[in-house]
Assembly symmetry: C2
Homo-oligomer: 126 residues x 2
């Protein structure tokens, strides 16, 4: 069995130094979102117990829910067989999507909404 | 409501022409794997009803299970809010991981195996 440090250092980051993170609700098992982490945001996630990511558009680390309060408490972190993707099992406060849906995957590929809006988006970011 | 074609054309492919696909078991809701698709493999997936991906290492389209028989029948395809990630809900034949585990995410980040080997890996690829 390898230690935590061994495994974190074996993560295969992509050319941008990022690893994709699948985020799943630990109780309902809904897939909530896909985000990206660099080494520092992964360290912050492990140290604080709350999900931190790297924004590819804003080019900075962000804590999920830092503005909305809709934080993600880490229950478990899984790593895949080829060590280039992580899975965060989280307890989601509020909703994960800026549209007010619980999950970012609220539409099917035909554009039909399969999940309800739980929180009015206007009230998420004050 | 947009048509299927509208939505497929709104997908934001990355610089390599790929979109990440989260694959989830439709009955157990386990997250099975992360893979990548280009336009052609997505079309093949929709046309055949079975998951096709683009291998970044082999630089070619592959049908999941083409050698092992462990195919993924598509139940639903979801698209996320910013249209740069897809979620396939599938019926998985056999196992999704080449290690013989049902899911590729069978270890936590400390290296501890959380899921059993269901099929001996040597017997998967004959």
């Amino acid at each position: 069995m390898q230690s935590l440090n061994d495994f974190s250092s074996s993560i295969q980051y992509n050319e941008q130094g990022l690893v994709p993170i699948i985020v799943q609700d630990n109780s309902t098992l809904e897939v909530l979102m896909l985000a990206y982490a660099n080494k520092t945001s992964l360290e912050l996630t492990k140290q604080t117990g709350y999900a931190h990511y790297f924004s590819r558009t804003r080019k900075k680390i962000w804590k999920k829910g830092e503005e909305s309060g809709h934080v993600q408490r880490i229950i478990d972190i899984r790593i895949d067989c080829d060590e280039d993707t992580l899975l965060y099992l989280v307890e989601q406060s509020g909703v994960s999507c800026h549209t007010g849906h619980k999950t970012c995957f609220y539409r099917d590929i035909m554009g039909i909404e399969k999940e309800p809006v739980l929180i009015e988006p206007d009230t998420i970011y004050r």
